[in-house]
Symmetry: C2
Subunit: 109 residues, 2 copies
DNA sequence: TTTTTATATTGCAATATTACGATAAACATT
DNA sequence: AATGTTTATCGTAATATTGCAATATAAAAA
């Protein structure tokens, strides 16, 4: 075992969990926060900002990108990363949906 | 390696990533969705609802609980689980914060 | 063209997660 | 007390993640 049984769940469940999983590491939260703060976003800046090696940061960026949470575009020699809104929209809408449900029904425990 | 360097990141970054990580599995998304739908929430029902064994479901419930996303209270023989609002509030506020930032600054790539 | 700069990939070791059978624990029912 | 029901824990195998040194790639600068 050790492999998630993704085929037993719905598309939406798998998609949401993949987005959440991509945010499930403090370095990747830090990257998102940094991208929000500066709004200009050369990869090397992120490497300098984080207490991790360049290959490790590159890997985290790759995960955020493949999850659809950031975008990257080539800018001469370097690469410009920034937030991909659509991924965050899905997370936002899920969390708002949870809140909306909770307002109507009160929790039972 | 393999161990996350949590001590190199802020409290908030670690907390947010732990919440996200707890949602980073389709079974745990499915559990949350089920709890929202029924609002009554005996553990055994969740086990029946999911395509996973009882020990595996129990483990997922434990993770959601320790992350602060659900609460559980003993109800006679069985255990009643339900959503823990405070955990979801943090996720909601983060995703709304991201959206708010994005409205002001337009993405650069 | 050679060298430098910036980022990605490979390979690998350490650790974490996922899943479940077996079993324990705790309470309810008989 | 004995039995059944419900949930948790243990042990363990399979797989995934994290992190980095070494190396590759690609564009810029010299």
């Amino acid at each position: 075992m050790g492999a998630t049984k993704t085929d037993h769940f719905t598309e939406t469940q798998n998609e949401l969990s993949m987005l959440a999983k991509a945010l499930g590491h403090p370095a990747r939260i830090a990257i998102i926060e940094h991208l929000l703060k500066v709004n200009a976003c050369i990869c090397g800046d992120i490497v300098n900002e984080l207490p991790l090696s360049q290959p490790t940061v590159s890997q985290h960026l790759k995960e955020l990108k493949s999850a659809g949470l950031i975008k990257g575009s080539i800018e001469g020699n370097s690469i410009c990363y920034c937030i991909n809104e659509s991924g965050f929209e899905k997370i936002k809408s899920f969390s708002e949906q949870v809140s909306a449900h909770l307002e109507k029904k009160n929790s039972c425990c």
